[in-house]
Amino acid sequence: MSMLFNNPVLLREMRERVTGRRTMVMLTLWLLILSVTVAIYYSSQTGGFGLNNGGGSPVTQIARVGQNLYELVLFFMIGLVLFLVPGFTAASIAGERERQTLLPLQVTMLRPVDIIVGKVAASLAFTVLLLIATLPLLAFAFLIGGITISEVFSGLAMVVFSAFTLACLTVACSALVKRVQGAIVLAYGLVLVMVVGSFVAFGLAYAIDQSRGWDRPNPPVAILAINPLAAVADVSGEPPTPDWFGFNNNVDTPLAVIREVMRPINFNGGFAEPVGFDEFGNPIFPDNAAVESGGMRFWMLHVAVMSVLSLLSLFVAARRVRTPAKTER
């Protein structure tokens, strides 16, 4: 842990980033935007005092508002992570190189891993600060109901995990590219591939399955395994339980839409086979654990794949700043 808490690179970056006026402005703006969004959504769903959120009993309706608010806040949080972390981290090593401050660091007693860990932790520190500042809004959603405390923490944990993995991947971009501008382009390009590219590839694979005349297109899960948005969507709610005809009625948050898109993974082609019937004659659909990846929930696959990729990225980044080197970097 001393690599973290006594890390001069981290402490210096924290001093620069967190004590600046810019931090206060960003924090205020972030909370303002999110609070206003939550307030508008809440009031549109509850209509002031009366609920207007679809049918069902008032308890079911308010629970749905709670669940949706929770998902909305999580969506903003992962959006913040996807937007901020690459920008912060991509400039870290390339920035030192551009300012000519990397050489003096490399001849100190700091090991390459100290420099990389310091940089990753520094970019995460500010993002985590923003995420922590969002906790009251998550607590508000929890108080409304419809979600459990473990759901709140698992959603938050997945967002923080995504921030960590993105920081690891983009610090490698920063170490590989000499100029800050190039590193930023590479980092955001990578995020685009992970988030949008993987969905596009998933859609293409789905279309290919359909073009083969398959009744149940079943593109491989691995295509989405690098997608942090898909992982947050998966962890934040149960996979959509479709009716007999494969339709899902509760897709009123962005994360629910993503879960709907991912349905072929969770229900083997989007259509659930009832495994039995309850006492009222309603169909019982398979548990979401029964997915094609061997009983593993999608987010678990994501965590496994991204953990490996993150460690690899840290290794590559550390190698790039290690000296003596064969060439000047």
């Binding site: 050489l103 003096p104 003596p324």
Partner: protein, 310 residues
């Protein structure tokens, strides 16, 4: 009566022998560094005596910075053996970094920190005990003449002050050896003089200082030893006197009150001083001026790069 320099060697035989050279703190043997087909440094050998102020001289692209980077354990040599205080920079980089302070040609300053914060950062990076930091920082800022600038943002300092901050950074862990790559580039004349005095002060403290520069005048008054590089090749190394001797000596232009002017070849500074003594005491003519010529690094460099010595 006039005297010729052919009489000088006899007088030299009675003078005490020159002191023996100290052990080298840096030893470079057969250093080669290539980037693809480009040869940046080609099979160079030289020693840097402990306690010396050593000038690595050469035009831009001569291979000075590459040589520095290899000594500073930043670059792996393509071939060759380097020893820094007994350590191999490739195999034992951390041991080398304990004894070496490096100031690259670019300042590499974190502008957002104050002078004190900047040095604290590097004290932490060198893993020095926290209890030592206050005294260390006080001492370093005083040494580099920035005692009153402790709370000043480094960003707002002049280039000369930043250069001194950079030097203080290289001194944080009290290294035996200082590598200063083009330390005077971009400095005004006053700042250059200050820097030179500071280097002499550091030398008196027992530090070995290695300076690279392509501006010979700035090294002339401080360097006890030099190595001249050009196109990645080492042309010559040694004390300026040794080099002058190998070039066939230097000359002194003497003019007399009777209007005569004569040029005397001398081998080194001792011969030069003996010549002056004999001219004053034994020559019938009265010396009006005594101007050593061709003794400076610039003259040596010009002679060497014209192909005089290899």
């Amino acid at each position: 009566m006039s005297i010729g320099t052919e009489e000088l060697p006899g007088a030299f035989s009675e003078m005490p022998a020159a002191p023996s050279r100290p052990e080298p703190i840096v030893s470079v043997r057969g250093l080669v560094k290539t980037y693809g087909k480009f040869v940046a440094v080609n099979n160079i050998d030289f020693d840097i005596p402990a306690g010396s102020i050593f000038g690595l001289i050469g035009p831009n692209g001569a291979g000075k910075s590459t040589t520095f980077s290899v000594i500073a354990s930043l670059l792996k040599p393509t071939s060759g053996r380097i020893s820094v205080a007994g350590f191999d920079p490739t195999a034992q980089p951390r041991d080398v970094r304990k004894v070496l302070g490096y100031m690259p040609d670019q300042l590499g300053i974190y502008g957002s920190l104050t002078a004190e914060e900047y040095l604290r950062f590097f004290a932490a990076a060198y893993k020095l005990p926290r209890s030592e930091w206050p005294d260390l920082i006080d001492g370093l800022l005083e040494l580099v003449g920035l005692g009153g600038k402790r709370k000043v943002d480094v960003d707002t300092m002049s280039r000369g002050m930043k250069q001194r901050m950079s030097l203080a950074r290289a001194l944080v862990h009290d290294p035996q050896l200082l590598l200063l790559d083009e330390p005077a580039s971009g400095l005004d004349p006053r700042a250059r003089i200050d820097l030179r005095e500071l280097l002499l002060q550091l030398s008196e403290m027992g530090k070995t200082i290695v300076i690279s520069s392509h501006i010979l005048a700035e090294l002339e008054t401080v360097c006890s030893d030099v190595a001249i590089l050009e196109g990645g090749e080492l042309l010559v190394s040694g004390t300026p006197d040794d080099i002058a001797t190998r070039l066939g000596g230097r000359s002194v232009a003497v003019s007399f009150t009777n209007g005569e002017t004569e040029e005397f070849p001398v081998q080194n500074e001792r011969e030069q001083s003996e010549l002056l003594r004999r001219l004053v005491l034994e020559d019938e003519r009265e010396v009006l001026s005594f101007v050593p010529g061709g003794t400076g690094l610039e003259d040596l460099f010009m002679q060497i790069t014209e192909g005089g010595v290899r």
